[in-house]
Amino acid sequence: MVAMSTTIITITRQALLARKEVWMTLVTLLLLAAALIGIGLYGALSQQSFVMLMMGLELMLNGVMLAAVAFWALSGAGAPEGQLLTIIVMAVMAIEMAMGFALVVAVYRGKQADMTEALSELKQ
């Protein structure tokens, strides 16, 4: 604990002297993205409701987009493909949401259910 806090203080002091960002680096950004993906995965696996499950997926994609932009800005030398990738992820998200909700509507009409467990008979 003590060692960790001294490291943090040293890094911050170096940052003050060097006048550039030390905390917003590729590694920390990727860690943040990993945290978002982890939470999203938990949500997507644990939620019973279809709509909440979708929220978990969206949170995972949120982390993916952050990672893509971080690579674009800090490791990809600003290649436009990095930005395009983010836009594609956004499009995937929009399509997933639109189709997902449309399916929920259609299934709800037929079955009056929006729980994933109640949909298991669809597998048969």
Binding site: L45, I87, M97
Partner: protein
């Protein structure tokens, strides 16, 4: 004024905001609140993108996600038992496995981020992110761009086919029953007779 340290402080605050609000999505009782927490998480990530000089993508996050989460909230109200949060609720299954999977994913991805050496190639000076994106779209990635149109069109048609309740063949909710007030009870608020007529068309069944 020290620019770097301000960016750092902003980044740390936004990172905490993104993670905490992302976690709160699955820990709040009200479904509408959950979707707005998710929006908050998106906004924090968008602001981090702004800090990373992705001016267009960061701002675009705000408006795309603003609309998407608004629609998400509407569907929460339509389909969830508890849009309000007046009574606490837990709606999880396989809680432990999911928790383990989430933590594992975080650890694996985090270790990958820590152990891999990524090339350090920052943005070149004088890069215009929006213009470079535009040139890429019209030039090299033209096919991606146009096929996005086709995919979006397919989505639009699919959405209309699946969800439009009117359609050309009469109301789509013909024959469907609202849920009972008590489990297994009579359907609630069922119209006594068909108001629309149109008996000749049958409701599509899902196989």
């Amino acid at each position: 004024m020290n620019h770097g340290i301000l960016v750092d402080i902003a980044f740390l605050l936004l990172a905490v905001l993104a993670v905490v609000s992302g976690w709160r999505v699955f820990r709040t009782d009200s479904m509408v609140r959950a979707s707005f927490f998710l929006l908050l998480s998106f906004i924090a990530v968008g602001a981090i993108m702004l800090l990373l000089a992705a001016e267009y993508l960061g701002v675009a996050m705000f408006f795309m996600m603003g609309v998407e989460m608004m629609v998400m909230a509407l569907f929460m109200v339509m389909f969830m038992m508890n849009p309000a949060g007046l009574n606490p609720m837990v709606m999880v299954h396989q809680h432990r496995i999911s928790m383990g999977a989430g933590v594992t994913a975080f650890l694996v991805l985090g270790l990958m981020a820590l152990l891999t050496r990524f090339p350090n190639r920052p943005l070149p000076a004088g890069l215009e992110p929006v213009a470079s994106l535009g040139h890429e779209m019209l030039g090299g990635s033209m096919l991606i761009f146009e096929s996005a149109a086709v995919v979006l069109l397919a989505t639009m048609i699919g959405v209309v086919v699946l969800s439009s309740h009117r359609g050309r063949y009469g109301a789509a909710n013909e024959g469907s029953l609202p849920p009972g007030l008590a489990p297994g009870g009579d359907p609630a608020g069922k119209p006594k007779e068909d108001q629309d007529g149109g008996h000749e068309h049958h409701h599509h069944h899902h196989h």
